[in-house]
Structure formats: structure tokens, C-alpha cells
Symmetry: D2
Subunit: 334 residues, 4 copies
Amino acid sequence: MKTFNIAFLGAGRMGMTHLRNLVGVPGVRVRVVADPMAEAAQAGAAAVNAERASADIAASIAAPDVDAVMIATPTGTHAELIEQAVRAGKPVWCEKPVAMTLDDTQRVLKTVEASGQPVMIGFMRRFDPGYAAAKRAIDAGDVGRIERFRALSCDAVPPPLSFIKTSGGIFVDMMVHDFDLARFLVGEIEEVSAWGASLIDPGFAEAGDVDSCVALVRFANGAIGSIEGSRRTTWGYDIRTEVAGSKAKLIVEGQNKTPLLIARHVGHEGDYYQSFPDRFEAAYKAEMTYFFDCLRQGIMPAPNVRDALESLRVALAATQSLQLGRPVRVDEIK
Amino acid sequence: MKTFNIAFLGAGRMGMTHLRNLVGVPGVRVRVVADPMAEAAQAGAAAVNAERASADIAASIAAPDVDAVMIATPTGTHAELIEQAVRAGKPVWCEKPVAMTLDDTQRVLKTVEASGQPVMIGFMRRFDPGYAAAKRAIDAGDVGRIERFRALSCDAVPPPLSFIKTSGGIFVDMMVHDFDLARFLVGEIEEVSAWGASLIDPGFAEAGDVDSCVALVRFANGAIGSIEGSRRTTWGYDIRTEVAGSKAKLIVEGQNKTPLLIARHVGHEGDYYQSFPDRFEAAYKAEMTYFFDCLRQGIMPAPNVRDALESLRVALAATQSLQLGRPVRVDEIK
Amino acid sequence: MKTFNIAFLGAGRMGMTHLRNLVGVPGVRVRVVADPMAEAAQAGAAAVNAERASADIAASIAAPDVDAVMIATPTGTHAELIEQAVRAGKPVWCEKPVAMTLDDTQRVLKTVEASGQPVMIGFMRRFDPGYAAAKRAIDAGDVGRIERFRALSCDAVPPPLSFIKTSGGIFVDMMVHDFDLARFLVGEIEEVSAWGASLIDPGFAEAGDVDSCVALVRFANGAIGSIEGSRRTTWGYDIRTEVAGSKAKLIVEGQNKTPLLIARHVGHEGDYYQSFPDRFEAAYKAEMTYFFDCLRQGIMPAPNVRDALESLRVALAATQSLQLGRPVRVDEIK
Amino acid sequence: MKTFNIAFLGAGRMGMTHLRNLVGVPGVRVRVVADPMAEAAQAGAAAVNAERASADIAASIAAPDVDAVMIATPTGTHAELIEQAVRAGKPVWCEKPVAMTLDDTQRVLKTVEASGQPVMIGFMRRFDPGYAAAKRAIDAGDVGRIERFRALSCDAVPPPLSFIKTSGGIFVDMMVHDFDLARFLVGEIEEVSAWGASLIDPGFAEAGDVDSCVALVRFANGAIGSIEGSRRTTWGYDIRTEVAGSKAKLIVEGQNKTPLLIARHVGHEGDYYQSFPDRFEAAYKAEMTYFFDCLRQGIMPAPNVRDALESLRVALAATQSLQLGRPVRVDEIK
């Protein structure tokens, strides 16, 4: 297996996350972790046993022992670093977004396409096992013609208001993930209609943004859909995507993180059944209908007295086993 | 459709439930509701527009305008009333149990079989949509050869201790429903091994019973299984049945009564995801592997800069729609 | 308990359903079932043991022995029959809708309010245990300030195209239930923005309607939301409603009708875990971190060799019990 | 943070899994990967950038630059290698089991305790987020007094029969994980009663083992429970654990690996609702009762004609929005 020698740029919080994930990937050797803050670069290099740390990003891209570049620096630097790397003849993986404006993004696209270098942008949701399986199901035709799409994305904790002012707004900063999923799963979007509201914190409105949003989307293939987002929930990160088609509906949702369910009285009145009359309400009705149907058709109904006898026999055997402290054969009970 | 003329015996709590269910059953006319307590009989008759109420049970069974008898009187009277009815040449539906002893039940069985009359015993769980569908799936071969069975039955509220003394014990009074389901779904039981404990209330032990129990069951067809029961939960009525076979596993469980879920922080630490790093942990790793696989195979990876461009374009269209208060075509954004 | 004497108008399909439900309601006596089709009236009367059947609707409303009127006749007749009944001084329950136009509905409202008679319209979803519990939770403040609303309504089987032409369109005929729920759970709606598409059958477009729709809603209290609907699914009737607020999110959804789950390989690749390495992937990592944390902090880690010893002892006791066919005390294993 | 220098013994399949997990653990440096098969040792060393590979296990344990030993060699070697390591004064992490017999395990325990070295055995389930959260909930008193325990463990694919003969049997090889969980979550086990059957493959019986098992367990604290296991399912790895107490019931179950649900007609008849009459059956009944209760109590019922009017107004606004292609204020509709 060919091994790639990597320059990894940016050792901030997300950079460290990506670096640690990189360790498990076969065929990758991190030559250099570069960050203008030398300490961060060193911490990053140490975390992955990289050969060296560097505060010089340009030199790290250009280094002759580097054959691919990974970019996790602040957003405003992505465009230029992608361009530097592809001009140096090196493939790139870069965190999203490329840039905050169409113009900048188009310029990068032009440079990248001229270079012929592979460049990947980190819309990581496409690689979630749920979304990836959804895509496979769609491509396999399991969903049929797609008719409707719905995406919900809510952060648990809002970002600081200082960030909001430079974020590009909720649609560019946050819902772009849902637009990307819509394009990934359904196809190109032709038209949108969006509403927003500032319901969580008036600071969002003051910053020229909204904290809650809904939007309609219309796809080139005729499907329609909606998007909903919020900067804050009080019950956790809330991501749900639905794709409904002529054959099936896909729902990608990872609501419960931990495989533990606690059953107790904290839900709401009526959450659980109270006893056999409510749990088996339908059964009580069905058995009456069945009984008279049997009579009408001349069929002997069951469960009958023999069933009562045999079930009682088992119950008595269990009672005897409880008393004797040993297994009891049912035919011992006579 | 032939109409059956019914004598309904016993207008206590369960009797009233059965009477009300009877109303929705087509082809049934309640001629008489009989109960030794005249007021109860009258209330029962009124509830279903029965022709008459009576305090004379024997006369009600014998009445010439009655062609079938339904019995919801106290347990101790079931055996004799079933026998009276079939001797009068009338089919019978009777609440469970037939009797508390094998001898009494066998005597009734003999009388019933001699009479040739249809007699049905109210093990109503068999008519629950879940259990009925499970039975159909088993009979259709969907489960394959049954290997393992498991049943859980827990009441939410324990019965009064005064009742426990005459109940026949937890296996005869309560778990007999699970033994009946085991026989219904899997087949005859050959051997049982039972343990019990008095953990909820020492009164159960004083009454010679247990309040919690577990048991092993071995079926004639080779399958094995377990039964678990309790007289009290603090989270609601808890009934779950599992049938595992060579082709599939069936689970019948009706845990949530009301179709309402409340998402909020009342579960446990770790119940929900907190943000994208934990929700999309697997995605972050998968995308790294994918990127290097693409490089290795000479494939251009996606999402690429063009994807970033198009998703950004949609996000900007949404932002503009939000500002203009009208739908915006994505190709307006250039 | 006061008994109401009812004239029930309309014994078609929904009329019969309502009639049968009526039987279980205490304190109600059906005096007359009226339907212009005499046979239908008689079948309806027979089903509930009504005193009489009638083909004369006006006379049935006016009958002196009738104190309340229930209307399940065809939609076009609702307005006039409600007016007749309240003018006759009788309270009314009527199937939705009152009428297909605002003018007609306003005229009925005026007549009803002038009469002072109680008149109820059958938006039955409000009485579903899930929606009713959601309303209680909202009123109790459990959800906090409502921020977002979402409703989905999809029929499993589309109506005949002949009906579509006179249906008033998907929003008036179908989504009005969701608008009613929105108003019931969140509050009055101020603005809507709707899109539709004809994806299922071109007949919908030919009839001037759509078969799939999405819409945005803005509430007077500032909340925003979306609505989605379809005339046909291939996986069953699909109704889901979400109300997200500052304290919690409510989800009303009744997806599974029968409490039976079948576990088998029919889902999709990756639906189930294959073995311990994938199921316990996180555990394998966590235990490594824990081990070194213990070393670092000078804590003896567990599970340790004593745990291995005691768990093995239980396993050997189980093995011996299996061989001997009797319970084995763990301290017998030495 | 102190860094530990590790000798990792055994680079087979599980060894490689553990090695890869080790990479993400901070403060760990793998000095040597040792395996009698030199190639395996080298592959293991390469995978984690270890300093060296070795075919000499004893030398690797003894190496002066190694301060802790991790053991993932074949089962039969665990006991001796643990003893070598602790005698060399080094802490140990070792895959389960320590040994297949009580005698060997007790001997190791004695050596370990004499050495004072920390030794941890890899019962990894305790570190699963679900089991760990269950333990925290129990320790926090959320479950109250534990009354009942239930564990299910089923492999998806049976091991080769050649392995079965030396496996120690299903309880020692497989269910020991459940016994360990029982001890971890509930407490020490005093008594077991076990049954088994050979239902999947007669080879298990020929090898002196069973492929399916059930057992009762009785805990020193009075709780009772059951265990169920199988060597093969056809629907995936199936692990479920229940702990029921006086305050709550915990269920640890990770059934679905991928957060994707596909709704389609592949379940069973009755799996989904078909339409409003079955989905809203309870609602139809509840609204009737409510209507007459209102009449009886002199309350004006709702939804009323005004509700019908306002919901219709919204529906008409949506219809107009659909036709005009722009948002419509509801008060435009008059």
C-alpha cells in the first residue's frame, strides 16, 4: 500500500481532532504539523508522532518530502492555502468552507481545475454511516423516485455572538450542511424560500442574523422539501433527515448517543400502560368477535378448557419447582 | 348474519368491561345481564341496552331465548357455571381461569367434551394484535425453527395482600398468561425450573408467595426459554415476549401507550449527542480513509470545490430570500 | 347522569364508524338514524339499537324526542344542517368541514353564535392521546416558549381523481388538519408560503391540484414552522408533528400500529451489529484510556484477576448445573 | 502527562485491533510489539509506529525501556505471561480470560497480589458507554434496590467446531461476559441453574457443548435473574441487558448500528397504520365522550365553528400562496 507523506496545517481544536483520526488511517505518515503558533504545532506533532513541527505554513506546503496537504486552519485562510498547495502540485483535503463568498470560491475552483489536483472539502456528514447508507439505498433504487426531502439541524449550544457577526449568517454557516446533504441525496436545488426569526437571544437580530430558520427547497428533478434549523436546543444536538420517495422513506437520525434506556416515571402522564385493561384493550374486543365468528361458522374456539388445563399444569409445576428447589417435569403434575 | 342471544353473567368491574366491548360486536344481542346483586345487573343491562336484568343466574342460563352464555363472575364459580351452561346445550365464553386445581379443571373438561358444546376461555393476550401477528409470522414459517423463548410480565401495582393468600401463587395467578403464550407461540412445555423471591413487600412471603420470579422452560420441540415476573414496577405495566428462531426473532412489546415523545434533559448523562464532534465521530474518520483511498486509486474525491460552490450558492440564495421575503431562484445568485 | 337523545344524520362509511363509537359513550341514546337512503338508515339504526330509522332528515332534526344532533352527511350539506339544528334549539356535533368557502363558514358561525347553541366540529386529531398529551404538556409549560413547529401528513392511498376536482385542493381538504393542529398547539397563524408539485399522478395537475406539498407557517407569537403533505405513501399512513420550544421538544408520531418487531435481515447493510468488535468499538478504546489513567493516578484498575476468577467460578457453576441438571451454588465450585 | 513505554505481546487479529485503539490513547509509547511470528510482530509495529518488533516475548517483557505490558496472545499463554510481567515489576493489561481453570486463575491471582502490580483483565463491556452509564445510574441510586437482572448474548456467526472442543463450553467461553456484567451491575452471584440445548448444529453436542442456553442466577443481595445465550442468530449480534429495581429499569441494548431507518412494506401485516380510521380510532371515541360531557356540564365545546373558520382561512391562504408563488398573509383572506 502506497504511503502518503502529509503536511497537516492548523493544530487548533478541529485540527487536533482530525490529526487524531488520521492516526488510524493506514498508509499515511505525517511529515510535518504546521501552525503559526509553534506550541500548537508541537502539540499536534507529538500527538501523532509526526516527524517535525513547523511555524512556517508556506514552507511546509512546499517541502519536497510532502506529497499531500491537509488544511484545518481558520476559515479565512482556506482559499489561499488550497491554491498554494495545488500550485505546488499537491492534492488537498480542506475543512469546509472554501470561502465565504461565491467569487472567492469560484476563483479557487478555477485554480484547482486548472491544476488537475484532487481537492476534497470536508462535508463530513456524507461519510456518516447513516447518510452513506441512505445514499447507497437511493442509488440502489430502494427509494424510487424521490418526492420529498426534509432536514433538521439544531445545535445544542449557540456560538458566541462575537462569532455570529462574521459567520455569514445561519444559512451560510450552519444550514449549508443540510443544503449539501440535499444535493448529495436528492440532486441540485433550483429555488429556495426562507424565513427566520430571532427567538433565542436578541443578540442574533442585533448581529443581523436569525437564530431559528425554516426554508422551502425545490429540486431540479421536481422534488420539494423543507429545511429547519436552530442555534440552540435544551435536549441535545438534533439532526434528522428524511427522504421520501415512491418506494420507501429513509430517515437518518442519531438521537440517542448511548445505548441505555431508563424506564421510569419521568415522561408524561400516559407514557406507559398501567395494566392489562389498557394494554390489552384491543385484545378484549378481538376475542369477543372471534368467539361469535367461531359459533357462526361451527368452529370450536380456542383457547379452550384443555388450554386452561395445560397452562394451569405448567403453572403448578412451576409452583412446585419453586417449593422444591429443583426442576419439575410438567408430566409429574397430575 | 346470524344473531346470538346472550346471557351475560357477572356485572362486576371486568364484567362491565366485557359488556361494553360486546356492544361493538356485530350479530350479538344481550337478552339478560345476570348478577346476584340486582343493582349491578341493572347497571350492566342499561350499559348495553340489554332486554332485561336478573339476579337469578341459573334461570338466565336456562332461559329459552338465550343461545349462548358469557361468564364473568368470580373465579370460584366458573367451573360450575360452565358445566350448567353446556348441560343446558349452550356454548360458553368464560373468563380465565376455569378453576384453581387440576382436578376441577379436568372435571369441567370432561363435562364440556361430553357436551360437544364450544367453550372458550379468556386468555385474551392471544388476541392482542402483536401476539396474533407473531403467531401468524410463526405459522407462516418466518421465524424458522424456534430455538429460544422469553417472556416478561410485570404488573405496575401489586394486588392487595388479602387477595394473594387465595390467588394460588404468582405462577398460577399471573404467569399462567405467559405459560399460555409459550404454549400458543412455541408449543407444549415439558419441564420447568422456578425461583422466586420476596423483594417488594414481606407480606408476600408471609402469605406463602413470592413477589418476583424467574423460571426456565423446556419445550417438547427442544426449544428452551425463560420467564420473569414481578408484582410491581414503578414505570408502568411491563410485558415483553421474545421468540427467537433460525430465521428471525419476534419481539412483542407495547411499552409506550401514548404516541408522544418528549425530548428533554431528564434521561441520563450521555443520552443525547452534544454536538457534531460526537454525533459525526465515525464520519470524520471515514472521510480521511476515503480521501487517501481516492488518491491511491487515482480517483478525484468528492465533495470537492464545486460542491462547496454549489452548496454555498444555495445558502446565499436562502440568505437573500430571508432578506427579501420572497422565494429566490438559485441561479439568481452569481 | 343525564342521557342525551340523539338524531344521527348520515349513515355512510364515516357515519357508521361514528355510530359504532357512540355506543360506548355513556349517557347517550340514539333515537333516530336518518339518511335519505332508507336502507343505510336502517343499517345504522340496527347497528346501535336505535329506536327508529328515517329517510327524512329535516323531520329527524325537528323531532321533539331529540335533544342533540350529530351530522355525518356529505360535506356539501353540513352548513345547512348545522343551521337547521341550532335554529331548532339543538346542540350539534358535525364532521369537518363546516363548508368549503369562508363565506359559507362565516354565515354558519353567525347563525350558531346567534343561537347560543354548543356546536362542535370534528377535528378529531385534537383528541388523539398523543396530541392531547402534547397540549397538556404545552399548557403546563413543559415546552417553554415555542420556537418551531413541524407537521407531516401523508395518506397511504390517494383518493379517486374524481374526488380531487371537488376537494378544494390538498391544503383545504387534507392539510387543514395540520393547520388546525398548529393553531391548537402553537397559536394563530399569520402568514403562509406554500409550494406544491404533482409527482405521484399527473391527474392531480389535470384536476388543478398538487399531490405533494410543503409550506412555511409563521405564528402570531413569533414561532415559525413548516408543513409537509402527500396524497400517497407506500409504507403506510404517515403522521408526525414536532413542537420545539425553549425547554423541550414534543414529537407526536404513531408509526407502528402493532406492537410486534421482527428482527431479521431485511433492513439494509449495516442495520445491525455483526459482532463484538463493531458493537463494542468504543468500549475497547475506553478501557485502554482507563487502564493508563489508573497507572498514572496510582489506582488499581478493575476488572482485575479477582474479577476474572469470580466470573469464571460462576461460569463453571453454570457448566456444572448444565451437566448435573440441578441448581448449583457458586461456592460449591472450588 | 507521564508517558508509559509499552511492550505489546501478540499481534494477531485482536492484537491488531487493540494496537490500533492504543494509538489514540494519550501518554502511551509502544516500544516493542512482540509476536513469535516475526512478520506479525513487524506488521503490528508498523501499524503504530512502534520503535521495534520482536519475536522474543520474554525479552520484550524484561526490556529495561518497557514499563508496562499488554497481552493479546493466545488464551493458553495468558497466565504465564501475566506472572512473568508482574514478577518483572511491570503492570499488566491482559485480554480475557486469565485461564480456563479456577486453579490456574487462583495461582495467577496469588502471584499478582504478592507482586502488588496493577493487573487489569479485558472485560471490555464494562467500558461500553451504555454499561458504564448503567453502572453510574445504579451507583447514583437511580434504580433503587435491584430486584431482577436479565442478560442476553447471541453471536451472529458460530465459531468453528474445532474451536468449540477447547473453548471450555458456552458458559466459560461466552456467557462469562454476562456473568461479569451481572457481578458488575448487581453484585456477587450465589447460585445458578442452567439448561442448554443443541439446536443449531449437532456438532456442538458432539463436541460436548450446547449452542443455546438459559440459566437462572441468584445474587447475594437477594435479586434474581436469568441469562440467555446463543452461538448464532440470522439478524445480527444481539446483546441486551436489563436491570429492574424499585425505582427504575435500565435497558442496555445496541440493536441498530447505523442511524438509518427505512420505512417500507417489508415488516409484517399490520406493522403500519393504513389511514385515519385506524390511526385515530381512540380520538374518534374520545371526542364523542368529550362532546356529551361538555353538553352535560354546560361548557361550549371546541373545536367549534370559529376553529373551522380560522383553519379554513389558513388553508385558503396556503392555496393562494401555491397559486401566486409568494408568501400570503392569512389576514389577506377574507
